[in-house]
C-alpha cells in the first residue's frame, strides 16, 4: 500500500518536474497583447470571423492580419476595446445582417416526393434543387441548422425568416445555402444593390426604374405594417409622397393580375402609406451608416440630386446640394403644379432628407456662382451633376415670339415661383405630354375660359398619363387632334390673335411604333386664341460647359444631354457622375430617382477606392424572360380601387389637390388583390386543387 502511494507520488512528481522544466526550456515568447485582445473578444469560439477560435483570431489581430472589428458577435463594443489595446482605428464596419430573398416557400410545388433527404444541399446535388424556379428556396432549412445563434426560424409559409435582432452576421447561413438566396450584407450594401438576372424579382419590381420591392411593401400594407411598408419603399425611393402622387407607375403595366383583370393599383398604395406617415405627425426614423468622411457635391436639387444625396448620406458619406433656384425640389417644385403635388407636401418630404444631415445651398448656379474647379478645390471627392432639362424646345414657326406666347416649363416654373402672369380668355397649349396637360389644367384654374390642346397625333399616341388626360377632359379642356401648327398670327399690337394649323392624317408607323402624322394639303385652319403655350419637350441646359475649363472633357450627346454609362452613371470625367433629366433628356421622376441611386452606388465605389463598374448580369430596363407570362391561372376578377377625386366644380377654381388618398379600408382591400408574385410562383386567388 505504502509502496503504491509512494510510487504514484513519485510518478506525479517526476511528470510535474519534467513539465515544469519543459515549460521553461520550450518557452515560446507570446505577445502579451494576444491574451489582452482575446479578453476583448466574445469567447464563443464560433469561427464566424474565419479563424479557428477566439485565440487564433487574437493572434491574427496582433499579427496584423485581422482588423480590430474581427469579432462578429462582439460587434462595435469589442472592436473599440480591441482597438484600444492595439492602438488602432476601430474602423467603420457596419453590422451585417442576413436576409432571405425568396418568399416562395410552400406555395412552390414540392418536386421531391420521396421521404428521406432533409437537406437543401443534398437536394441541390440531386436535381439542381429546382422547386419552381431555379434560384428559389428549397425550404429544408440548412440555414436554420447552420445558424449558431438561433436567429432563423421556419415561417409557417415554408420559408426561413431571419430574426434581425438575434442575427450577428456570421455568414454561416449564407455558406450553408446551396441556392444563394439567403445572404448576409450590411445596410449600405442592400441600399445600393441593383436588380440582377439571378435575383428573385416579380415583373413589377423589374419594371420599376427605382427597383422598389413592390410585392413586399404591398404585403406589409396587407399585414397592417404601414411603417414597414414605408421603410421598404425608402430603401429604394426617398420621394414616396411625390411619387405616390405623380408617378405614371410603369410597374402597373407589368402587373401579372393585369393580364386577366385590372392591375393592382400599386402607386395608390404607395401614396396611402406615405400620406399616413405624414399625417401621423411623426417621421419614421431612418438609419445611416457611420460617417466615412467622404464629401460629395451635388449640383441640382431635383429628384435625381435629392435621391443621390439621400443614398450617399445613408451609406455614410457627406452630401452637399447646390441648387440654382430659390428652393430645392427641381421639376417637382417648379414643373409640377400645386394641384398635383402640393408644395407643403414636397417641403415635408425634402425636410426629411435634409434632416439626415444633407447640406444645401440655394440660389447658386453652376458656371455663374461656382464652377467644378471651385468644388474640387473645396475638397469634394466626387461630383453629381443633375441639372435637369429646363430648356423648352421651340416650334420654329413664325410668330412664336409674339406677346402672349409662352413655353411649357418656363410658364409652369414662373407660376410655381408665384409670378403673376396675365391669363388670356382663350388659350391653346401645343403638345401631348404631361407638361402640356399640366399647362392646360393650370390655365383652367387660373381662370381661362376656353382651353385647347393642339396635338399633331391622336389621343392614343399622347405620351401623357391616361388618368391625367381624362381629368383634363373632365375639367373642360377641348382637344384638337391631328393638328400641326404652322404659324402664329398676331394683331396690330404684336399680341397673339390666331394659331394657324394644318390638319393631319395618320400614315405609316415610324421608329417609335406610332403612326406618323402626314399633313393634308390645303387644310389650313385658324383657331382664335389670345394665349399660346408650347410644351413639346425639354432639353438640358448645358451652357455651363462653355464657361468651365475643367469640363473640357465632358461629353455632350446630340440631344444635348450629358454622355454617361447608363448603369454606373459615370460621365467622361471619372469624378463626375450624372443622372436625371440632365443625363437622359426629359423623363420620369421615378427614372431620376433610380438614376440618383445608381449614381450613389458608383460614387460610393469611386470614393472608397473600388473600381466603378456595373454588377454582372445587371437587369436595368430589361425583363427576365421567364417571368413574363401570357396567361395567369387562378385569378378571380375583382375591380381595382377607384381613386377618390375632388369634384370637378370644386377643383377647377382652386389649386387644392385634385387626387385624393385611398381610405385604409380600400387600401387594405387593394393590397389583397396583389398576387405576391416572384419570378415564377405567385399566390392565386383560387387554388388549383379546389
Amino acid at each position: 500500500m505504502v509502496e503504491a502511494i509512494l510510487m504514484m507520488l513519485g510518478l506525479g512528481a517526476v511528470c510535474g518536474t519534467i513539465l515544469g522544466i519543459a515549460s521553461k526550456v520550450f518557452y515560446v515568447y507570446e505577445d502579451p497583447r494576444i491574451a489582452e485582445v482575446e479578453g476583448c473578444l466574445a469567447g464563443a469560439n464560433c469561427g464566424a470571423c474565419g479563424y479557428a477560435g477566439c485565440s487564433a483570431a487574437a493572434v491574427a489581430v496582433v499579427g496584423g492580419q485581422a482588423q480590430a472589428n474581427v469579432c462578429i458577435i462582439g460587434g462595435p463594443e469589442s472592436a473599440q476595446k480591441v482597438a484600444a489595446v492595439m492602438g488602432l482605428d476601430p474602423g467603420t464596419a457596419e453590422p451585417l445582417r442576413s436576409l432571405n430573398t425568396c418568399q416562395g416557400g410552400k406555395r412552390a410545388e414540392d418536386r421531391f416526393y420521396y421521404t428521406g433527404v432533409k437537406s437543401c444541399r443534398a437536394l441541390a446535388a440531386f436535381y439542381g434543387g429546382k422547386r419552381v424556379c431555379h434560384i428559389g428556396c428549397l425550404g429544408y432549412g440548412d440555414c436554420i441548422k447552420a445558424c449558431k445563434f438561433d436567429a432563423i426560424h421556419m415561417d409557417p409559409k415554408g420559408y426561413p425568416v431571419v430574426d434581425e435582432v438575434k442575427c450577428v452576421g456570421c455568414m454561416a447561413c449564407e455558406k450553408a445555402c446551396p441556392k444563394e438566396i439567403i445572404n448576409v450584407k450590411s445596410m449600405s450594401q442592400r441600399l445600393l444593390e441593383l436588380n440582377c438576372e439571378e435575383d428573385a424579382l416579380a415583373p413589377c419590381r423589374q419594371t420599376c426604374p427605382a427597383e422598389i420591392n413592390i410585392p413586399q411593401y404591398i404585403a406589409q400594407v396587407r399585414e397592417g405594417d404601414y411603417e414597414g411598408s414605408v421603410r421598404t419603399i425608402r430603401e429604394r425611393n426617398p420621394l414616396l409622397l411625390a411619387c405616390g402622387r405623380v408617378c405614371p407607375h410603369p410597374c402597373e403595366s407589368y402587373c401579372r393580375r393585369g393580364l386577366e383583370d385590372e392591375p393592382v393599383s400599386i402607386n395608390q398604395l404607395k401614396r396611402f402609406v406615405a400620406d399616413l406617415e405624414m399625417n401621423s405627425g411623426k417621421r419614421y426614423p431612418i438609419t445611416c451608416a457611420p460617417e466615412t468622411g467622404k464629401r460629395v457635391a451635388i449640383i441640382g436639387g431635383g429628384p435625381a440630386g435629392l435621391s443621390c444625396a439621400y443614398f450617399l448620406r445613408r451609406v455614410g458619406h457627406h452630401a452637399t446640394i447646390y441648387e440654382a433656384m430659390p428652393k430645392l425640389g427641381g421639376m417637382l417644385r417648379y414643373g409640377i403644379p400645386e394641384y398635383r403635388l402640393p408644395k407643403k407636401v414636397l417641403d415635408w418630404e425634402i425636410d426629411g432628407i435634409l434632416n439626415l444631415g444633407v447640406d444645401y445651398h440655394t440660389n447658386v448656379k453652376l458656371g455663374v456662382d461656382f464652377d467644378v474647379g471651385s468644388l474640387v478645390s473645396a475638397g469634394y471627392d466626387a461630383i453629381f451633376l443633375s441639372v435637369g432639362a429646363w430648356n423648352d424646345y421651340n416650334l420654329n414657326i413664325d410668330g412664336e415670339d409674339l406677346e402672349g406666347c409662352f413655353t411649357g416649363i418656363d410658364f409652369l416654373s414662373r407660376i410655381g415661383l408665384g409670378e403673376k402672369i396675365t391669363i388670356g380668355r382663350r388659350a391653346a397649349v401645343i403638345g401631348g405630354g404631361n407638361t402640356a396637360i399640366d399647362c392646360v389644367r393650370t390655365l383652367i384654374r387660373l381662370g381661362a375660359r376656353e382651353v385647347y390642346i393642339v396635338y399633331r397625333r391622336t389621343r392614343r399616341e399622347m405620351p401623357a398619363n391616361a388618368v391625367e388626360i381624362d381629368a383634363a377632359e373632365h375639367e373642360g379642356v377641348k382637344f384638337h387632334f391631328l393638328a400641326a401648327p404652322v404659324r402664329v398670327i398676331g394683331d396690330e399690337r404684336g399680341h397673339v390673335k390666331q394659331l394657324e394649323y394644318l390638319k393631319m392624317e395618320l400614315g405609316e408607323p415610324d421608329a417609335s411604333g406610332r403612326r406618323r402624322p402626314v399633313p393634308i394639303e390645303g387644310s389650313e385652319t385658324r383657331l382664335d386664341v389670345d394665349m399660346l403655350i408650347t410644351a413639346i419637350g425639354q432639353a438640358p441646359d448645358v451652357s455651363f460647359k462653355s464657361d468651365v475649363t475643367r469640363l473640357k472633357d465632358l461629353e455632350i450627346t446630340r440631344r444635348r444631354a450629358i454622355a454617361h454609362d447608363p448603369i454606373t452613371m459615370q460621365s467622361a470625367i471619372p469624378y463626375i457622375f450624372t443622372g436625371g433629366d440632365a443625363a437622359t433628356g426629359a423623363s420620369l421622376v421615378i427614372e431620376a430617382i433610380g438614376a440618383g441611386r445608381r449614381a450613389a452606388r458608383s460614387i460610393n465605389q469611386y470614393v472608397t477606392g473600388q473600381k466603378v463598374e456595373a454588377p454582372p448580369g445587371v437587369l436595368y430596363g430589361r425583363h427576365i424572360r421567364e417571368t413574363l407570362f401570357e396567361h395567369v391561372e387562378g385569378v378571380r376578377r375583382k375591380p381595382r380601387a377607384k381613386m377618390p377625386e375632388l369634384p370637378v366644380d370644386e377643383r377647377i377654381h382652386s389649386f387644392a389637390e385634385a387626387d385624393l388618398v385611398l381610405s385604409e379600408e380600400s387600401a387594405v382591400a387593394e393590397s389583397q388583390r396583389c398576387l405576391s408574385c416572384c419570378r415564377l410562383c405567385y399566390d392565386p386567388d383560387v387554388s388549383k386543387v379546389a
Binding site: 510510487m7 510518478l11 511528470c15 519543459a22 477560435g53 433527404v117 432533409k118 443534398a122
Partner: protein, 191 residues
Amino acid sequence: MGDYIVLAISCILVNNILLAQYLGNCPFLGTSKKMETAVGMAMAVVFVLVMAGVITWIVNTYILQKYDLVFLQTIAFILVIAALVQFVEMFLKKSIPALYSGLGIFLPLITTNCAVMGVCLINMKEEYNFLQALVASFSYAVGYGLALVLFAGIRERILLARVPTPLQDTSIALVTAGILSLTFFAFKGMV
C-alpha cells in the same frame, strides 16, 4: 522480420482498433463528417499513439513490473499519457511549429482517448517486447486512421442518399459503421 509484418497486418486490418475492437468511437463519429477533419484527426492519433505506446511500455516494464505494482497500470498510464501529450505539445510549439499548427486542436483532444489507452493496455496484456509494442502501436494508429478516412468518405456520400427519416444522421452512421466492421471481419482468418 516476418513476425513484425504479420503483427502490423493483424493490428491494421484484422484487429482494427475501431472496427474490430470498437474503441475510440466518439471521435470516430464526431470527426468523420468531413474528410478534412478526419485526416487531421488520423494524423494526430498516429502521433500520440506511437508516443504513448513507447512511454507506457517503459513505465510498465521498468517501474510497475519491477516493484510488482501492475495493479496501478490504468491510473499510472493516464498520468503518464497526459503529461506526455502536454510535453509533446510544448516541444512541438517551440521546435516544429509547422507540425504543431497542422495537428491543431486534435492533439490535446485525444489525450485520454480510449483508443490510446486501449492500445497501451493491449500491448501490456500481449506482453510484447519493446519493438513489438512500437510496431503494434503504430499499426493500430494506422488502422484507426484508415477506418476514419474510409468512413468520412462514406458519410460524405450518405448525405446525398435517400435516408428514411428515423434513420438520419447518427443512426445511419452507426449502421454504416456496423457494415464496415463486418467487411473488416473478412480479414479474420488471415493471421
